[in-house]
């Protein structure tokens, strides 16, 4: 059940409670109706519009040779972060308690691994900061994945404020994991997950490269910096080099993350998987 399209949920009665299959996970959010749906669409449109404006016009108000100057940073900060926060406020009241119970685990996993990989001096062009987000998406659906992505950026932001700007990217990765769950791929064979992870990685690179370029002027890690340097040596300009670095790192990163989550989901007891499925509780009205 997608976030924006309501679907009937069976009333949970002792005699008619279906046994949910791990191959058919569904999202856990109550349907979004009326202004919430419109607001969610507007927030998504705002992110797309910001991306298009930044990438196509490359605004600049100085002769600064880096990508990030005052104007582009302000536009990117407002255009990517504010809609992600709006999405969080719209979706989180619709989530059931069992999805919320899973999120702290996901956030701890994201933050501990992400911080470990991000701050170590090793030249590793990976992030590994979305295992928890993907896990929530896989178990509890796209709405829960989206919320986990944004909250991950916010909470991790308390120890690394720079990641807050990537909230929209994290939200997309979580929602995408939930959409994949609708197809029942998480408990199936590995290769559909691998294929999906490469596509998600490609799109998340598209989203994160302008943030890295226009807010920070590039990448702040040694591994990713080495990749950018290599692409610049091949003749790419700074923005193209950041895009190429993202297109190299993100699909690889998501392949590892999705594979790990696939292993975790397969190792989980069925009762744990069922606990996060939506038919354990009645849907609420809009």
């Amino acid at each position: 059940m997608p976030v924006t399209s309501p679907a009937p949920e069976p009333a949970p009665t002792p005699t008619s409670t279906p046994t949910p299959s791990a191959h058919q996970p569904a999202p856990s959010a109550a349907p979004l109706n009326g202004w919430r749906r419109i607001a969610l669409i507007l927030a998504g449109a705002c992110i797309v519009a910001t991306w298009l404006y930044l990438v196509l016009t490359q605004p600049s108000d100085s002769s600064f040779t880096g990508l990030a100057d005052s104007r582009s940073t302000t536009i990117a900060l407002a255009g990517f972060t504010a809609p992600a926060l709006a999405m969080l406020m719209i979706v989180i009241p619709r989530l059931p308690a069992r999805s919320l119970a899973l999120m702290p685990v996901a956030l701890v996993v994201n933050i501990v691994l992400g911080q470990l990989v991000g701050t170590m001096g090793l030249p590793l062009p990976l992030y590994l900061d979305s295992i928890g987000t993907v896990l929530v998406g896989a178990l509890a659906g796209p709405a829960a994945g989206l919320v986990t992505g944004v909250l991950s950026a916010l909470i991790w932001g308390t120890i690394n404020p720079t990641v807050v700007c990537f909230a929209a990217t994290y939200a997309f990765v979580g929602a995408a994991a939930g959409w994949i769950a609708r197809r029942g791929w998480w408990t199936g064979r590995w290769w559909p997950i691998a294929l999906a992870s490469l596509i998600v990685g490609f799109i998340s690179a598209l989203l994160s490269a302008p943030v890295a370029s226009f807010i920070f002027g590039g990448t702040a890690g040694t591994g990713t910096g080495l990749l950018v340097s290599a692409f610049r040596s091949l003749g790419a300009d700074p923005m193209l080099a950041v895009f190429l670095q993202s297109w190299t790192s993100d699909p690889l990163d998501k392949l590892i993350v999705f594979t790990l989550v696939w292993l975790v989901v397969r190792a989980l007891p069925q009762r744990s998987i069922r606990a996060f499925l939506p038919d354990a509780a009645p849907a609420r009205d809009a």
């Binding site: 600064f64 040779t65 880096g66 990030a68 005052s70 940073t73 302000t74 900060l77 969080l88 406020m89 989180i92 009241p93 989530l95 059931p96 308690a97 069992r98 919320l100 119970a101 899973l102 999120m103 702290p104 685990v105 956030l107 701890v108 996993v109 933050i111 501990v112 701050t119 001096g121 295992i131 896990l135 178990l139 909250l151 909470i155 120890i159 404020p161 720079t162 920070f216 002027g217 590039g218 990448t219 702040a220 890690g221 910096g225 080495l226 950018v228 340097s229 610049r232 700074p238 080099a241 790990l260 975790v264 190792a267 989980l268 007891p269 744990s272 606990a275 996060f276 354990a280 609420r284």
Partner: protein, 242 residues
């Protein structure tokens, strides 16, 4: 005759963040958070070297706890190296070895900006007491956000305990515990625990809409509200004027 309301003993302590008393407006937990956020926005938006370095120095001075300060300091070489790799060899003015003069300047300016924003955010963030902040936010934001924020802060010790238990299990079997081997059981165990908590949480109607009661509410003062508005306006002014 009903007993007169007695404030929590802690709330009578002067100057405790977020609680009544003669504390400064800046010590309200939300004021600290707003100061942290406004500073990050100002440093990133204004893009001025002096402001970045000032924020870096102030942030490091304000940071509470040696571990957190060391964590901020450890970011300096990593971030600087990342930007130097990206910009230093690709400038136009020759410098030393592969470091061009203008490329190195650009790299270090960008690194100072990120580090300034990070140090400022961490410095002010380290002064926030999470409990009063959660209590202040409880009636003001969706309950789910407060639950997730609060639980995440409390989950870290539980995760550490489980990690130690797993290590103990491995050692008792005569296997030397390796991080990679412990990661999967750790995550699976934490998710399984969360599944156990999910049903009771659902049965209590935790996710139902409506106002929540806070037993020991954190008051807000007009001076604190004015301070927060002023800080946000100042950040905006810095972005526009510099």
């Amino acid at each position: 005759m009903p007993k007169a309301h007695r404030p929590h003993p802690a709330s009578r302590r002067p100057g405790l963040p977020g609680l009544p008393g003669p504390g400064l407006p800046v010590r309200h937990p939300l004021s600290l958070l707003v100061t942290a956020v406004a500073g990050v926005i100002a440093v990133l938006g204004a893009h001025h070297l002096a402001l970045s370095l000032g924020a870096l120095a102030t942030g490091l001075l304000l940071t509470r706890g040696r571990t957190l300060r060391l964590a901020t300091l450890s970011m300096i070489p990593v971030v600087s190296a990342g930007f130097l790799l990206m910009y230093a060899p690709f400038g136009t003015e020759p410098g030393w070895w592969i470091f061009t003069r203008d490329g190195t300047t650009t790299a270090l300016t960008l690194a100072a900006r990120i580090l300034g924003a990070t140090a400022w955010g961490l410095g002010w963030g380290s002064r926030i007491d999470a409990d009063p902040l959660m209590r202040y936010l409880q009636p003001r934001v969706p309950a789910g956000i407060v639950y997730v924020l609060g639980s995440t802060l409390r989950l870290l010790p539980m995760a550490r305990q489980r990690w130690e238990s797993l290590q103990l299990i491995h050692r008792s079997r005569g296997i030397e515990p390796r991080r990679r081997a412990l990661l999967l059981p750790l995550v699976v165990g934490l998710v399984d625990d969360a599944a156990g908590r999910a049903r009771p949480l659902q049965h209590t109607g935790f996710d139902l809409p409506g106002r929540r009661t806070v037993l020991d509410p954190v008051p807000d003062h007009p001076a604190s509200i004015a301070y927060r508005i002023a800080v946000l306006l100042a950040a905006l002014a810095l972005v526009i004027l510099i």
